[in-house]
Symmetry: C2
């Protein structure tokens, strides 16, 4: 027998018991005659005491022990004189009568401690050692718990988990597929799924009614900071439902999960139109842990030409020429120094953001208003700005100007940066938000036509269908995203199940009937055999876990992640394969 207990469970209740423990040596301190050893496993840490004076055999073994050796000990649970309230087993220690070295260990390349001295690269190469560290393991335990709770909830709601195939068919649309040469079908390839979209819609045609899957998906993209070539989705689809049903159900799922893994009650999730999200936050995924909403100083479209314009006609060409002049009130930042303000200007001028400048107005503690454009705007004018931003003494207003879409994007970045600087983005606070009424179509500069914003099967809002011909960009879709803390957790849509409407949509997306047939023919055929009204949603599971864990990167919630070149540096993959294997697969490499 390797153990009677784990290293995390012995307490004062076990006093006097003879126990067997197995685990890794965390550390060993020889106090001459007595050696203290901390033995560790997944469940915790227990202190061992070995009297090396009495027992020659024990002495020899203990002398040999190194960090991360695997040992098994037998001994009696005794009370510690020097208790450690920080750990669950801190009241007791084991007086060791027998010790066996189950395995030796080379010195690890970094410390197996909560705060390690190992850099990212070293930790990834020896990921199996990195995974011994509590914070890393705890992320994966959280991930496990979340997956269990998600399944429990969806199962209780009548969803069936159905495994869809991994070896599927390559489609020319969308992101790049990973492909798999077929040996049995020479010259042909499978593709790995970017999502089970087609299959889940087919399951609705099949009458499965409520489907879900926690499933690996694949995308051969150039990896940005926080993408992985393989990632996990919580994928769902329902039939005979409307948007409201889906929002309620998946809000319920999210609440259930937070309640059961974080013991947090999230309450009702607010909802926001896409248009409002763009107007008030310059983003379709606003972080609403803090306010700092956009305030426009130029009239909005709905206010019309005659509405107040607080900036134009004062001789300041930047504002005079701008489509939109818009700002935020960074409350309490009036004390920012020149240097800090310059940092902010540099921040928005970074090529990733690309602004040309930043205007500010301080509402000083003495009540005076001071702007960086005093030359053009006098105090009367600044007072109007102050009113618009509802400033109070101590506030700092930051204003940007330019084309609407561009300046909103830029101000969004600045808002988030100010949120960080002012400590408003607490990782232990969770602010979920439904963004709804996404546009159906978005204009693509390159191909000079409209593309489906979500996908070509997303249904338009019935009341907007009339606009398809006149103002296609204004047609809203039955599409929705769940955002938490400014991160898109997932989204979905109500699908088109009607053949006529689908044809209209294809026409507007610039597909000829032949092209539509070629690209989507298979699903369109299935839809002719009685497709029910249906819709769905998919959450990015890696992202969701990382948010709940309060982490910045999804890499920390994946057991064996890949780096930015798509490499697993631990197993050194991808790698070359035998010529024989290529021959069998009827392929050659051209490099």
């Amino acid at each position: 027998m390797h153990r009677t207990h784990t290293c995390g469970e012995l307490t004062i209740k076990n006093l006097g018991q003879e126990v067997i423990l197995s685990g890794w040596v965390q550390k060993s301190r020889d106090l001459g005659g007595t050696t203290f050893i901390d033995v560790r496993d997944r469940y915790g840490l227990t202190q061992l005491v070995v009297n090396t004076d009495d027992e020659a055999t024990l002495r020899t073994k203990v002398k040999d022990l190194g960090r991360e050796f695997v040992i098994k000990v037998k001994g009696i649970v005794v009370e510690r004189s020097n208790k450690n309230p920080k750990i669950a087993t801190g009241d007791v220690e084991i007086k060791v009568s027998d010790l066996e070295i189950l395995n030796v260990a080379k010195l690890p390349p970094f410390m197996i401690e909560d705060e390690t001295d190992g850099g990212e690269e070293l930790r990834m190469k020896y990921r199996y050692l990195d995974l011994r560290r509590n914070p890393v393991r705890n992320n994966l335990i959280l991930r496990h718990k979340m997956a269990q709770e998600i399944r429990k909830y969806l199962d209780a709601q009548g969803f069936l988990e159905v495994e869809t195939p991994v070896l599927i068919k390559s489609t020319p649309e969308g992101a790049r597929d990973f492909v798999v040469p077929s040996r049995m079908n020479p010259g042909e390839f499978y593709a790995l799924p970017q999502s089970p979209q087609t299959f889940k819609q087919l399951l609705m045609v099949s009458g499965f009614d409520r489907y879900f899957q926690i499933v690996k998906c694949f995308r051969d993209e150039d990896l940005r900071a926080d993408r992985q070539p393989e990632f996990t989705q919580i994928d769902c689809e329902m039939a005979f439902i409307e948007q409201e049903d889906i929002l309620n159900l998946f809000e319920g799922l999210t609440r259930h999960m937070f309640k059961n893994v974080k013991d947090l009650e999230l309450g009702d999730f607010p909802r926001m139109d896409y248009a409002d999200a763009m107007r008030l936050y310059g983003s379709d995924k606003p972080d609403i842990r803090f306010d700092m909403q956009f305030v426009s100083l130029t009239p909005t479209l709905s206010e019309g030409e005659g509405a107040k314009d607080l900036v134009k006609g004062f001789g300041f060409p930047v504002f005079d020429n701008a489509e939109l002049v818009v700002g935020i009130n960074a409350k309490g930042a009036a004390s920012y120094t020149r240097k800090q303000l310059d940092e902010l200007t540099d921040f928005v001028k970074r090529p990733q953001i690309g602004a040309t400048g930043l205007i500010y107005m301080r509402h000083n503690e003495d009540g005076t208003l001071k702007s960086s454009v005093d030359k053009f705007y006098d105090e009367t004018q600044l007072k109007k700005w102050s009113e618009a931003f509802a400033t109070t003494p101590g506030d700092l207003v930051l204003i940007m100007a330019g084309g609407t879409d561009k300046v909103r994007k830029q101000l969004n970045e600045l808002r988030l940066e100010m949120g960080n600087r002012l400590g408003l983005r607490d990782k232990n606070k969770f602010a979920p938000l439904w963004v709804i009424d996404f546009p159906l179509l978005e204009w693509d500069e390159e191909s000079e036509r409209y593309h489906a914003m979500h996908h070509p099967f997303t249904s338009p809002k019935p009341e907007d269908i009339a606009l398809l011909d006149s103002k296609p960009g204004e047609v809203r879709a039955n599409a929705y995203d769940l955002v938490i803390n400014g991160t898109e957790i997932g989204g979905g849509s109500i699908r088109i199940h009607d053949k006529e409407l689908q044809s209209i949509m294809f026409k507007h997306l610039g597909f000829s009937p032949e092209e539509a047939q070629k690209q989507f023919g298979f699903l369109l055929e299935a839809f002719e055999y009685g497709a029910p009204p249906h819709g769905g949603i998919a959450f990015g599971f890696d992202r969701l876990v990382s948010i709940v864990a309060g982490l910045d990167s999804i890499r920390d919630v994946i057991a064996f992640p890949k780096n930015n070149s798509g490499r697993d540096v631990m197993i050194d993959s991808p790698s070359t394969i035998d010529e024989k294997q290529k021959k069998e697969l009827n392929i050659e490499t051209t490099v």
Copy 2:
């Protein structure tokens, strides 16, 4: 709103309620003035009554309805005069006040009924329609339930579900890998995992202690009748355990699952040595739903040369020259006709089985014994056979002779065939069995060396290690299989965690230290950092579901299976890809 209830839930309790139902038209009978429509969804079937005399609008709509149209109806729940006790909703029907056609449907290519007229090929091409049929959907509901119960059990036992990567590294050992060209790493390939073996052992090195995953695995094999290129495994690994712990835990899992999805108590699972399984059933996966154990008429090795030999020295050359003469007692089959016996002889002579003939002895109802080799064996001799087989009047003894391994394999096939013919293989009966003490090594004729029977990290039984040099074929491993009804559900082993023992094993498997390093170097390195004693098991999930469902093929428990050429005929995959895509991936096809 699309529905207030499903088509499976209305009963007499709902009388008088106005309800909305949505679903597919199963059938429609026009009785002139009144039309009866059966509407179906995943949950059941409900009868609708439409009075077409009163309502002109309803009349038109009902006239248009075809099979599999998707409809939504509003109406009042009324009691049926002509009740149908076969369905849950059989006491009621809906008096329809409003009917909406949500979607039309083309006539399906086969009947959507429990017994369909669609052949295998048609059903696979239109799998989304096949999945509408109750038996097919019920298999997938069973699969869902089993997966949930498995997770529930393992979670409660402290196992963590950890997702291991799908894009891994190709290894030259074992079955053929599917590979994935890497665009970002030109000329290099990922491989899809045949199992997460390496990763789960690494998780043990990481101290995860108890790991599981229900996970897709991939094998590029020539597909035999019931294999799929992608299949699902219940994959587990534990640290600080012994074989006994694993057997108990996974016996518990299996019992839990049968209890919770079939309401069946399986009791304790019997255990059988590999050697006994081969001796008594000629198979390492005996179907013990029925006895019919092998009886040897030649002395066994352990009985030695001097033991009874009931067949040799009577002038029958087939028996005289045979290493083993062995038979089964097919109880109650003495009445088999000449024709039936000829069929059995033809059965064993089929090339797949390859026997040269079959000897029988009838124990007639009148007590006489009659054999097909009366010329050589008189009644005194046959009586000894009768004793050996413990025959009673009405029994039929079937005997085969030849080399031990070959004849056992052949007689195993005959035993299973007789089990089928005599109705002894009841699909509603479940007979689990642990087969233990597998040989560590098996001789490979082709390479003329021993191979690991399980895999090279499987540990030998400590008491057999001494035999490694002298009798390698007799060394037993800490390896085990779970068999249910003659089907291998899964297996596993206790792994080697000791470097010295691993080196000895590699030597015996014919690996030079350099070769071992090249093939397994990465795992061996990880093992140097403190690998705990560990072991694991993996169940074939598709197979397990098919057994529980009482099905012969795993294809019936997979939502979207592939055919024997690895093709998905529904989506027509694999398929060719663009030249542009190949170019990006730095590959060319050679066909």
